[in-house]
Each structure stands twice: as structure tokens, then as C-alpha cells.
């Protein structure tokens, strides 16, 4: 099971976090700090796995961003490594040649996409097409609502609050 997902920039800035096991705020901060220390300092030609406090962290660097997923010790490392790549490909397809800036300004989109890919620390969907379709459907729901917002319903919504 994936315990958590972290996206960390080369400078150590956090771009996305998702926790599938209960961690207190203090623990989260500590993990992010310690783990960035371990992963950002690793050289380029090493393996993509780090053994860490009874867990394993599978990570991969894409340009300036490190994608990290923490898994149980006996989980299949390569499978998770390819979940990371799968995620990146979906982001890439959605944003069109994704870069760190996309993920900074549209971090909420990254969260939407991640929620379609993983929940409960498990892979939910392995088809890029399906995920793209679901996200597009969500976007259009939001768009429709925006158009309506200018209309009467908005005024009603305001009044009933």
C-alpha cells in the first residue's frame, strides 16, 4: 500500500502531498523535511529506492521535480515506480508537456488527477484515457456551473445562504 505521495522540487519546495495513512501535522512536517534531505542529496545514477524507517520510498526525478511514493517493505518497487511514470504521463497529457509551473499554478488540478489515479493508497485506474475522460467531465461540470453563476441561480444561492 502506498502510505503517502510527495512532490518535492529540487529546492526542497513541496508541490503536492497526499497522505493515505494517518499522520499528525507534526509527523508530516518531519517526514517531508527528513525525506527531502535523503532524496535530494542522492546522486543521479543510483537506484530509485530508498529504505527508510521500516518503509521503502520509491522516487523518480522529472526535470526539477521529485515524485516520491512511500510503500510497505514488501511491496513491488518497480510497479510503484511505473505508477509514478503513469501519473506523470497523465499530467503531461492534461497540461500538454507539463512543467513545474503548471503544477504550481494548477496544483488543484494535480490533486484532482491524483484522486482519480490513487485512492486508499492503491491504484484505482490504469487507463490514461479513462482518467483523461473523467477529468474532462469534471472540468465541464465546473464550467457549466460557472456559466450558471452569472444567472438567476447565483442570486438565489446567495440569498438562501
Amino acid at each position: 500500500m502506498i502510505q503517502y505521495v510527495l512532490l518535492i522540487s529540487r529546492q526542497g519546495k513541496v508541490r503536492l502531498t497526499k497522505w493515505y495513512s494517518p499522520y499528525s501535522q507534526k509527523e508530516r512536517t518531519k517526514i517531508i523535511r527528513e525525506l527531502s534531505g535523503v532524496i535530494l542529496t542522492r546522486g543521479p545514477k543510483l537506484c530509485n529506492f530508498v529504505e527508510w524507517k521500516g518503509y521503502k520510498v520509491v522516487y523518480k526525478r522529472y526535470a526539477s521535480l521529485y515524485f516520491c511514493m512511500c510503500i510497505d517493505q514488501d511491496d513491488n518497487e518497480l510497479e510503484v515506480l511505473e505508477i509514478i511514470h503513469h501519473f506523470v504521463e497523465i499530467l503531461d497529457r492534461y497540461f500538454g508537456s507539463v512543467c513545474e509551473l503548471d503544477l504550481i499554478f494548477n496544483f488543484h488540478k494535480a490533486y484532482y488527477i491524483l484522486d482519480e489515479l490513487l485512492i486508499a493508497g492503491e491504484l484505482q485506474e490504469s487507463s490514461k484515457k479513462t482518467i483523461a475522460r473523467l477529468i474532462a467531465a469534471q472540468d465541464s461540470l465546473v464550467e457549466t456551473a460557472k456559466e450558471e453563476a452569472g444567472s438567476l441561480s447565483n442570486i438565489i444561492a446567495q440569498a438562501t445562504k
Binding site: 500500500m1 502510505q3 519546495k13 502531498t17 497526499k18 497522505w19 493515505y20 494517518p22 499522520y23 501535522q25 509527523e27 512536517t29 518531519k30 517526514i31 517531508i32 542522492r42 545514477k45 543510483l46 537506484c47 530509485n48 529504505e51 524507517k53 521500516g54 518503509y55 513491488n76 518497487e77 518497480l78 510497479e79 515506480l81 511505473e82 511514470h85 503513469h86 512543467c99 509551473l101 504550481i104 499554478f105 494548477n106 496544483f107 488543484h108 490533486y111 484532482y112 484522486d115 485512492i119 486508499a120 492503491e122 491504484l123 484505482q124 490504469s126 487507463s127 490514461k128 484515457k129 479513462t130 473523467l134 469534471q138 461540470l141 456551473a145 460557472k146 453563476a149 444561492a157 446567495q158
Partner: protein
């Protein structure tokens, strides 16, 4: 520039990005937080769009690492919004932002539930995702009266009822034919999440049939999610899901042949590698596959994967296909395939550990270590030793770690020298993070497989010299024990110790060990140059100013011993040493002061007379038995040095990582062991010199005369009573040529969890056990079955019970006729709480071969437990009324086997400690209760609380409480033994003993196994 679609948010993000430094950023963030706060205060004026925008900003700020301690209410309230855009934001921000403030989440329980059972499938998805992600933090039982929140609980749905009432709804969604896949796959994983929290949610009739049907699912997304659910279900209870097994094999066949797999579910040309991996994982939880057809089809698929996976250029394709390949390897190992397929696997792994690609090399090493469990590949793996040693020097620490583990696992007498010397060499350059582990592993291997004893001493001294900081006290205690037990070794050790003292900048541990050895044995060297008592004294004394106060008492004792051994007495030396004692008698350090004054007293009582010496020795031997036992139980002490000096010396391993309380307990325990055992009462007055000698100066340990199945008795707690019993057996008879079948230790552990099974088996006899336990009584029946066609003669069975058990053994017949089975009933009464184990000393003659086995009887502490369910109303008053030691003991345990909370609950339940899920408000904690029965305590309630650290699974804090101090201590230690990482069974063990048996002095071979308990 890519924009968020919300201007205000984009502007804010740009501003933050443009900040030159952290200070400026903080100012900008604070300003924004102030702004949001004011806007929220005046909520009436906020449009849904604005609310959304501010909530996103909060999440962004939170991600940057700032505390966001307000506005949670606004985020949460969006969940109840009628429209999708707001609802979506509410859900996502809530599940990211809130983890502790679950009081807010309580407000929306009903809203979430309504979304899930409502008709709108996009809302259903949001609700399910929310539960699947943050359920455990959010909706759990609010029964612990620790939170002031109980009074203002909103709504009347507690967490537990919530999960119970929600589970049927989620199940319905999962199996509904009218629901679309996007809802159903979320429902499957949501159910998985609920199941992890409370396994009862799928304890409904016919759920396994449902699962079987779900495996026919055509939608690959749903099937993937269902397979994850199945993996969790079978990992906990495969027995209910046998009907899923053939379906899994079918799915795997379909994937491996790429039949009917939609294009969008292939990944770099590979049909969903994830589903393949998950399916093979599920299959690994079934103990075997009985149906020959299913087994054959599965092996065909596996063969195809093993043979058909090539290395390709594309990294992702390569990773995906190797993910499948490694899972297939694991499944093949699990299924215990034919030899040919196994050697194929080893050949593949041999190839992998030599490739340059680091991931594959890492996994090759990792899987080869797993493969060591399969006995007959051990020799093939050894061929790769040189390659593995190369990986020990890899620039990547992950790979070095794997190499170290593999070398440790594959070490045996044939290659111990090479491997240990490699480890020693590596020690000087190894990362700090690895040194302690490395040192411990080298020490264990040296001890376990030493071709000769002087080599062992060399290795340990080198270890202390090179990495003294990382050598735990246990290691140096062990070497001293060995030297004490082996007379031949003593002069050699003394010479070595003397040599090390000449080195400049000695590590303090080296000072301790050298001083100790020289105190005891330097008189054996007196003829050598530089080894007169005076010279020894002065070189040891030189170190005194450099050592810490914990070492000073050891040095003082050394002086006393030098003095004692000096014949004829040297008045000048004596005056000098007495002067030192006198000086330290007024030392500020209480320990040193005590030691000094005790030594003075002792010296004044003229010389230590021989009677007293022998008393000390017999006492020491007794302490050894409890000491050895404790050593096995200890996880590595992580460098934390003991606090109390006295307890360090008396009970070294207990104090090494226990708090002061349990160290005190340890003391009482040691003394208890003395009084209950010794036929001649030990010196009643506190004898400090004896105490120092206690754990160290040891007569040959009782387990000296053990037959060859050391593996089976590794970590066996020998009761001191056994000394006499063992002594009866003539030594010659103990060299066993008959090897046991199967791992005796594993059999014992299995029997600790169940009540019937095989205790021991060799080519001639099988010993089965069947037991019934009621309160503090037990009735065991031993079934002695002669497997051969000739009679077994001189059959003898002796029970060596620890003092807390009363065991009555019926008459054992002298002969067991061919192919016959004899039943021997045993009545057991538990007198007192203790985790000691009784031993069955069993022997028989087959032809002219004498076979002897010492078998632990599964009459362990947990057998006298009765699980009891306790409600929170009962638990907390009890818990609070038992305050503090000795009734309530707490310990931080490091080096535990990494287990998920569910696995840990299973472990507890299997030891009859009933886990009450949800009783503790902290989801990372676990609370259990049980009743213990013994004659002295009668029925006594025991409460246990385990606080795990989700960020580090190798440590936890455990608190045990009961109305009886001994019970509390024993139960705590018992549970600790079950939690501490047990090293991998070294499969070669059954073949090792033959060689060392003749060369090893009696009593040497076993302790390695004991020390390995540390890992």
C-alpha cells in the same frame, strides 16, 4: 504562463514565487492569511467563487509549510454545498488539510453519507474518495473520554457505527449492476479502506461469493480495484476465499496471453502490469494450490513470464515487465516449484545482481535474500559471493544495504571467514547509518560460525577497535562470556587485550573489555615482558583519567582482581591501589563511591576466600541463565547507553534499553531466579564484587551439552534446573547423527499459536502435541509415533519445567513398537506469571544410534490467557487506576518487525490478546485486553496499549498494566519477544552443526543463535 483559472489565486502564487527570501515570503503569506481571516469573518458577503478561491489559497499556504489554523470550517462547509464546483473543492481541500481537527469533519458526516447514498454519481465519487482517503483519521469511534469534544458531539453518529452503517451502502454500490465503473472502482477501494480499519465490515454471509463474482468483472479499472481489495482480504484470511483462486489464475492467463485486453489497458505494450502484479500477490497468500489443473496452468504462465522477459531499451517497458517478473519469481518461490524452475530463478537473479542498471541489481539482491529461504539453492547462491561483495562497495547505500543483508543470510561455516573479514574491512568506510547494524551482524556471524575461538576474539576486538561507538554492550559482554567459559582461550585473550592497551586513543569500550579480561586473566601472562601485575596495573590505570564514570567501577574492580591474583602479595602495589579506592570512596558519583567502598571492605576482610569465590561463581552461573535469555529478547539498543550503572553490571541487557523501572524489575527477577533455583543459597549479603562478576564471569552455560539442533533451541530459555538434568546425560551420546525434519523453532512457534500439531520429527519418530487449556490448567497429550519398521528403544522423556509450572508427566514406555503410536498425557498447572518455557528432554535409541532432542513445550504464557472484550467504560477506569510502575510498565521498543496496524492486531489476537479497535482515539494506537490465569494471581485482567509511530514502523511504545507486578513485567517482555524483529531463519542451519561440532568446545555453538535475537 499557465494560470489557475482564478485570477486572485494566480496572483498570490506569483507573489509568493517572486519573494526573494523566506522572510519576505512569510510577510506575504501572513498578509494573505490576515486577508482571508477577515473575509471569512464576514462570511455573508462571500460568493461561492470567493470562498473557493480562499480555500485554495489556504491549501497552497499549507503546502508551503505554514500553519493554517483557521478557516477549516469554511472548507468543510463547502462539502455540503449543493453545487459540484464548491463541493469538489470542499472535499479535496478537507481531505488534504485536516487531519487532527476531526471535530469539524463530524459536522459533515451526514452530508458525506447523503452524497454516497444519493443518486448523483459525481457526488457519490467525491464522497467515496473522501472516505477512502481520510476515513481513518476522520470517522472513528469517539469514545475515549480524553477529548473535551465528547460533550459537544455533533450529530449522533459515532465513528464506529458510521463505518458499520456505511459499509453495506458501499458494498451495494460495488456490486450494483446499475452503477457505472467510475463509482464501483471507488466503492471497492473505499471498502478496502473501511476493511483495514475494521475487518468486521466484510464479515457478512456470502461476501466471498460476491468477491468471486466480482473477479468476472469486464471493466479493467474495476477489476484492478477489486483485486486490491482481494489482496487485503486474503492476506488476513485466505480460507474464506478459496473459490477466488482459480479465477485469479484465469485473469493472469488472460493478461499474460494478452487476450481480450483493451488497448488503453496496456502499458508500453504490456497488458496491465499492475493487475498482473496484484493478481500474483493475491495468489501468494494461499498456502498452496491443490487442484492440479489450476496449478499446471499457473506454472505455464509463470514459465512464460520467467522465460519471456527480455531486457529492452525503453526504461518504462523494462521496469513494467520486470515488475511482473519479480512478482512471478516471488510466486514461484512461494509455490515451492520443482527444482528445475527454482534453479532457473536463481540463474535469473544471478544475472540481475551483475547488471549495471541499479534498480534491477537492487531487486536481484533483495530477491536473492528472500530466496535463501529455499534450502537447496543455498549452494548455487554461494557461487555469486564475489559479485555480492562487490555490491557491498556500491556507491548506492540502498544497494549496499541489500548486499549486507544477503551476505549475512548466506553466511555459514564455509564462508564465514571471508564474509566477516569483508564486513570488518567495510566497517571503516561504511556510512554511519549502517555501522551499528554492520557491527552487530559481523559479531553474530563471527560467533555463530567461528572456525576457531581465537579468530572470534580477534574479530570482536577488531570490531570494538574500529567501531566502538556502534558496538552495543551486548557484544562485549558476549566476548567476555566466551573467554570466561573457555580456559584455552584465556591467555590468548589476555595477550590481545594487553596489545590493544598499547594503542593510542583507545575506544572506551575497548578499555572496558581489556580491563575486564586483564583483571581476570593477566596473571596467566606474568612471565611475559610487560605483563607483571604492576605493569598491567599501570597501563590500565593510565586509562582512568580518560574514561567516563560508567567505566571507572570496572577499572576499580580490575585493580582489586589484579591485587587478588598477585602472588606473592605486593605490598607497594596494594598500598597504591588502596589509596585509589580511598580516593574514590568519596567520589561524587554514587556508583563509583559504592564500588570503591565495597572493594575496600572486601579487601579488609582479608583475601577473598575460596568458599566465597565458588559462591560467586555458582551465583554467576545462575545469573547467566537469566542473562542469556534476556539477550535474546533484546532488539539492538540503538546506541542508547544504560542509565544506572548498577543495573548495567547486573543485568546488562535489560538495562540497555529499558527505563529505570524495568531495570529494577530486572533486578528482582534475577534475584528471584536465584532463590528459586539454587540448592545452596547464594551469599545473602549484597556482594558487589560478585555482582560485577555476575553476568560476566560465567561457568560453562547450562546449554553447554546440547545436541546438534542448535537451530531449534536458539533463544531457548534454559531453566537453571536443567543443568542437573543435562549433566546426567553422558556427553558421548549427544552427538546426533539423526537430523530433524523441518525447523524445530518454527514448529514450536506455530504451536504457540495453535493447540495441535507436530512438535518434532526426524526419520524415525514424529512427536505430535494436542493441548487443551482452561484457566490456569492445561492438559497436553504427546503423541510419539514410531515411523520406522524397527522398535525405538530406551525411550526417555524428561520434563524440565520452569519453576512457575507444575507439570506431571505420565509414565513413558521404554520401547515404542514399529509403526506404533504412544500417547503420553501431561498435566500442567500454572503457578505464577512467567514467560519461561519448559523443555522436554527426549531421547531414544534407534539401532545403535542415540538420538536426543531438547524440545520447548508450547506451554507458554499466552496459553494461560483468555481474550476478553472490554468496553471503553470499563477500560479507562481500570487503566487509570493502575498507575505507574510496577503495576503499569512502559517501554519504547526499537527494532520491531515492521507491521501494519492490521497485521499487528492479528498478531495480538493470535496470542489471545484481544484488540479493541477504535477504543483509543489515536488511530495509530492499539489497545488490547486479556485475562491471565495462574494459581497465585487467579484471574487477572491485563490491559495493553501500543502506540505506533506511523513514520517509523521499527519502533513503538508499549504500556502494559495488570494488578500484579510480576505479571505486568512478564507479559510486557513476552509481547516484546513477539514484536521484535526475528532474523530470517538461516536454512543452512540443519547442515552446519556437523562440522563445528567436533572443533567447537562444548557450549560455543548455541550462543550465536542467541545473539542473533538482537537483530
Amino acid at each position: 504562463m499557465a494560470l489557475s483559472g482564478m485570477r486572485g489565486l494566480s496572483v498570490f502564487i506569483s507573489d509568493v514565487r517572486n519573494c526573494q527570501n523566506k522572510e519576505v515570503e512569510r510577510v506575504r503569506v501572513d498578509k494573505e492569511l490576515g486577508n482571508i481571516r477577515t473575509r471569512f469573518k464576514n462570511e455573508k458577503g462571500l460568493t461561492p467563487y470567493e470562498k473557493k478561491k480562499y480555500v485554495w489559497k489556504m491549501l497552497y499556504i499549507y503546502m508551503l509549510g505554514y500553519d493554517v489554523d483557521f478557516g477549516h470550517m469554511e472548507a468543510v462547509s463547502l462539502i455540503s454545498a449543493p453545487k459540484y464546483p464548491e463541493k469538489q473543492v470542499g472535499y479535496i481541500v478537507t481531505s488534504c488539510l485536516l487531519n487532527e481537527n476531526h471535530d469539524f469533519l463530524r459536522l459533515v458526516i451526514n452530508a458525506v453519507r447523503n452524497d454516497i447514498i444519493g443518486r448523483n454519481e459525481t457526488f457519490q465519487c467525491l464522497g467515496l474518495t473522501m472516505i477512502a482517503i481520510s476515513y481513518s483519521e476522520t470517522f472513528r469511534l469517539e469514545s475515549m473520554p480524553t477529548s473535551s469534544f465528547t460533550e459537544k458531539k455533533v450529530g449522533n453518529i459515532g465513528g464506529r457505527e458510521f463505518s458499520e452503517s456505511l459499509a453495506p451502502d458501499v458494498q451495494k454500490l460495488l456490486i450494483s449492476s446499475s452503477c457505472r465503473p467510475l463509482v464501483r472502482k471507488k466503492a471497492a477501494l473505499c471498502l478496502l479502506r473501511l476493511y483495514r480499519k475494521n475487518p468486521d465490515v466484510v464479515n457478512v454471509d456470502g461476501w466471498s461469493d460476491r468477491m468471486t463474482q466480482l473477479l468476472d468483472e469486464r471493466d479493467m479499472g474495476v477489476l484492478t480495484a477489486v483485486m486490491s481489495l482481494l489482496v487485503a482480504l486474503v492476506s488476513n484470511n485466505y480460507d474464506a476465499y478459496w473459490s477466488c483462486l482459480p479465477k485469479c489464475v484465469k485473469i493472469l492467463e488472460r493478461l499474460a496471453r494478452n487476450q481480450d485486453i483493451p488497448q488503453e489497458y496496456t502499458y508500453y505494450g504490456i497488458p496491465s502490469p499492475w493487475l498482473q502484479v496484484k493478481t500474483m500477490r493475491a495468489l501468494q497468500y494461499f498456502p498452496t494450490i491443490e487442484d492440479p489443473n489450476t496449478r499446471r496452468s499457473l506454472f505455464e504462465v509463470l514459465q512464460r513470464i520467467l522465460m519471456g522477459t527480455d531486457v529492452v531499451k525503453n526504461v518504462n517497458k523494462n521496469n513494467a515487465s520486470h515488475a511482473v517478473l519479480f512478482e512471478a519469481l516471488a510466486l514461484v518461490m512461494h509455490l515451492d516449484a520443482e527444482k528445475e524452475m527454482m534453479s532457473q530463478c536463481v540463474a535469473l537473479l544471478g544475472k540481475f545482481i551483475a547488471v549495471r542498471e541499479p534498480n534491477i541489481r537492487y531487486l536481484g539482491l533483495e530477491n536473492m535474500t528472500r530466496m535463501l529461504m529455499v534450502t537447496d539453492v543455498h549452494d548455487i547462491i554461494k557461487r555469486h559471493q564475489a559479485q555480492i561483495i562487490t555490491s557491498l562497495k556500491d556507491p548506492d547505500i540502498s544497494i549496499r544495504r541489500r548486499a549486507l543483508d544477503l551476505l549475512y543470510g548466506m553466511c555459514d561455516v564455509t564462508n564465514a571467514k571471508d564474509i566477516v573479514e569483508e564486513l570488518l574491512q567495510y566497517l571503516s568506510t561504511a556510512d554511519f547509518a549502517m555501522r551499528e547494524e554492520l557491527a552487530l551482524k559481523a559479531a553474530i556471524l563471527a560467533e555463530k560460525f567461528a572456525p576457531d575461538l581465537s579468530w572470534y576474539v580477534d574479530v570482536i576486538l577488531q570490531l570494538i577497535d574500529k567501531a566502538g561507538d556502534f558496538v552495543s554492550d551486548d557484544i562485549w559482554f558476549r566476548v567476555v562470556q566466551f573467554v570466561t567459559n573457555n580456559e584455552d582461550l584465556q591467555p590468548y585473550a589476555a595477550v590481545k587485550a594487553r596489545e590493544y592497551l598499547d594503542k593510542p586513543a583507545l575506544h572506551e569500550t575497548m578499555v572496558k573489555v581489556s580491563a575486564y579480561i586483564l583483571g581476570e586473566y593477566s596473571h596467566l601472562l606474568t612471565r611475559r615482558p610487560g605483563c607483571s601485575p604492576k605493569e598491567i596495573f599501570s597501563i590500565v590505570h593510565e586509562k582512568l583519567p580518560t574514561v567516563s564514570s560508567t567505566t571507572v567501577p570496572i577499572l576499580l574492580s580490575t585493580y582489586a582482581k589484579i591485587l587478588m591474583h598477585t602472588q606473592p602479595p605486593d605490598q607497594e602495589l596494594q598500598d597504591h591501589i588502596w589509596a585509589i579506592f580511598n580516593k574514590y570512596e568519596s567520589c561524587i558519583d554514587v556508583e563509583i563511591q559504592q564500588r570503591a567502598s565495597a572493594l575496600i571492605k572486601k579487601a579488609e576482610d582479608t583475601e577473598v576466600d575460596t568458599a566465597e569465590q565458588s559462591a560467586i561463581k555458582s551465583r554467576a552461573a545462575l545469573q547467566q541463565s537469566s542473562n542469556a535469555l534476556v539477550v535474546t529478547d533484546q532488539p539492538p539498543s540503538n546506541g542508547s547507553l544504560p542509565v544506572g550503572q548498577l543495573s548495567l553490571v547486573k543485568m546488562p541487557s535489560i538495562s540497555s534499553n529499558a527505563d529505570a523501572n524495568s531495570a529494577d524489575q530486572g533486578l528482582t527477577e534475577a534475584n528471584g531466579a536465584l532463590s528459586r533455583v539454587d540448592p545452596q543459597p547464594p551469599t545473602p549479603s549484597p556482594d558487589l564484587l560478585g555482582d560485577l562478576l555476575g553476568p560476566l564471569a560465567i561457568e560453562a552455560p547450562p546449554n553447554a551439552a546440547l545436541p546438534s539442533e542448535q537451530s531449534s533451541i536458539s533463544g531457548l530459555e534454559y531453566d537453571p534446573n536443567s543443568v542437573d538434568a543435562l549433566a546426567l546425560a553422558p556427553l558421548d551420546d549427544l552427538t546426533n547423527s539423526v537430523q530433524p525434519i523441518g525447523n524445530i523453532a518454527e514448529r514450536f512457534h506455530a504451536l504457540c499459536l495453535k493447540d495441535s500439531g507436530v512438535l518434532y520429527e526426524d526419520p524415525y519418530i514424529q512427536i505430535g502435541v494436542k493441548a487443551e487449556w482452561r484457566m490456569h490448567h492445561g492438559r497436553l497429550v504427546l503423541f510419539l509415533g514410531n515411523k520406522s519398521t524397527s522398535p525405538l528403544l530406551s525411550v526417555q522423556a524428561l520434563i524440565l519445567p520452569p519453576s512457575h509450572l507444575k507439570i506431571e508427566l505420565s509414565l513413558v514406555p521404554d520401547t515404542i513398537p514399529p509403526r506404533a503410536q504412544v500417547q503420553i498425557p501431561l498435566e500442567v498447572v500454572n503457578l505464577r506469571p512467567s514467560r519461561d518455557v519448559s523443555v522436554l528432554d527426549f531421547s531414544y535409541k534407534f539401532g545403535s544410534t542415540m538420538v536426543n532432542a531438547k524440545l520447548r513445550l508450547p506451554a507458554v504464557l499466552s496459553k494461560f490467557l483468555q481474550p476478553i472484550s472490554v468496553s471503553s467504560e470499563e477500560f479507562f477506569p481500570q487503566w487509570r487506576s493502575l498507575s505507574g510502575p510496577p503495576l503499569k510498565l512502559q517501554e519504547v521498543i526499537r527494532g520491531v518487525k515492521p507491521l501494519s496496524l492490521l497485521e499487528m492486531s492479528n498478531l495480538f489476537n493470535s496470542y489471545r490478546l484481544m484488540v479493541s479497535p477504535g477504543l483509543d482515539p489515536n488511530p495509530n494506537n492499539l489497545v488490547a485486553s486479556t485475562t491471565f490465569y495462574s494459581e497465585s494471581t487467579q484471574a487477572m485482567l491485563c490491559l495493553i496499549r501500543v502506540e505506533t509511530d506511523p513514520s517509523d514502523r521499527t519502533q513503538l511504545r508499549m504500556t502494559v498494566a495488570s494488578g500484579d507486578p510480576t505479571l505486568t513485567l512478564e507479559l510486557k517482555e513476552f509481547i516484546k519477544e513477539q514484536l521484535v524483529n526475528i532474523p530470517m531463519a538461516v536454512p543452512a542451519l540443519s547442515s552446519i552443526p556437523q562440522q563445528p561440532q567436533s572443533t567447537f568446545p562444548v557450549g560455543l555453538t548455541d550462543p550465536g543463535a542467541m545473539l542473533s535475537g538482537l537483530l
